[in-house]
Assembly symmetry: D2
Homo-oligomer: 166 residues x 4
């Protein structure tokens, strides 16, 4: 089984640019994470865009959807900013016959303390073992994007309370 | 679902002790890994022993088996040294009705470059989603302990070649 | 000898805030650096402001100058953003009888790869051993602020070429 | 000014070898530390040996002494294990006309939390600015090896109490 990995940017990929005195999206952080974990499965990484997920446009989401739908691999991992990860996931829910997992991180992979490697490890197992469908894997859990949300205050994904209107 | 975590030592927990000029097994590294990942699932951690897995005795393995069998939780994660992880896993294969996942790391969790957080993330998802059985989760893959081995030269777990006699 | 440490912000102190999807100046990074180095000298840390050095105003520099001049300790270390570190140093050059060292970093202290601890170590020795005067300690060197500049392209401080007009 | 750097091993250089389930002295850690700090001074690194300092023999110390004495550079930095750093330093005290600084670390440079980069930064400034003589730079302080000792319990170098017989 080969896992196809599409990267879109987000905090996972953020590096600090002194020249601008700010963090910006850099090379896909997942490449180094997978290398450091010395993973035993086959994968291909392709960068679709390098954006903070708050900046993703409808065109960006259409492109992601198009590429996932056209992809020959049936196990697809997408790294994505956390703020609109749920939205993108929900755009993909009618793609059939593929296990699609979205993950990302709250802290850049290049920090000493980061959730990046943990989340990628979790997503790597999820994408290989779960049945076809779309999943968000964050904070050590597998979420159904139709009922999940990011709780900013807790810095954590969670299941929506019923009737909360998200 | 509450995940019960038993720790036994291994590289994941190794810290450097200047007093002895060597690494020794310290506090369970998984505690800090789970904290940094801000995990959204419930768990309990219990330290059974603090040993390099090459030093585990038959009594140690009996204790691990006894505690896993007696545990009321049905989702059990065990952190363990990599050298004899397969052996311990194979001692647990006839325990029924529980999802039991063993993981560990090739590099201590406290190093800048380590596979520890990645492996724990992978094991956390595996233990919550896989059916009852015993699994070794390393290098981003889920292995059946009856057919897996550690390849020391590659620093990686792999499936035994048929007829290789391991 | 007690070293008085004034912190003003800058990259050294930057942490990533997921809520804003950006890095901001957080608690003084030098506190953790000194703790991790288990330093054997006495020191006091006081935070004067928390700013990117591009945002420092004339009032901020007046306050820094005032506090350094009024300080009873004669060995003073200032952590500061790198973009205007030279300017602030040059505001202090007529304060007599004190060894004043400015340092900072190009990468946040909280990154796996950072110049922060190295620079703080260098500044700690400089402030204890150099004669009275104002110094910028960056990239492993002691610079005279009257003839130094930050070379953005090289991400490094250097001595101005004579006649370069900086 | 070119700083000549001799490396001898010690904790600074320790890496974890899974194959042996232990830490061993690896490539000189100072190379990566100086690279990450993007230092602005010239230097040359030469590895003399790769040993825990408890394992250094009289022959090793003679070799170090010989190479330092014969070295044409007058600013010499030596990385060394902490347990016998003082002894080696005291073998060098009658070499004239050179500034010789010994440093090392209590924790390997490759750990997330380490004093290595801090100590190397401190030593780099000391070797460039102090007058001719032999110095031990640890824990942010410059020690005279004739009156210093390592306090193992405190994990810190300190000045001997007068009459303590060390």
């Amino acid at each position: 089984m080969t896992v196809k990995i599409f990267t879109t940017g987000g905090t996972l990929d953020k590096v600090y640019f002194d020249a601008n005195s700010e963090y910006q999206v850099g090379d896909p952080g997942i490449v180094e994470v997978l290398h450091e974990a010395n993973v035993a499965f086959e994968y291909e990484v392709e960068s679709l865009m390098r954006k903070d997920s708050l900046d993703l446009t409808d065109e960006d989401r259409s492109l992601i959807r198009e590429r996932v739908a056209a992809e020959s691999a049936s196990h697809i991992l997408i790294t994505h900013g956390t703020d609109t990860m749920i939205e993108t996931a929900n755009e993909l829910t009618d793609i059939e016959g593929k296990t699609i997992v979205l993950t990302g991180s709250m802290q850049p992979a290049r920090l000493k303390v980061s959730d990046a490697a943990f989340n990628v490890g979790a997503a790597a197992v999820a994408v290989q073992t779960l049945p076809a469908g779309v999943y968000v894997v964050m904070n050590g859990c597998v979420f159904d994007p139709r009922t999940a949300r990011k709780n900013r205050a807790q810095q954590r994904f969670e299941v929506c309370e019923p009737g909360s209107g998200r």
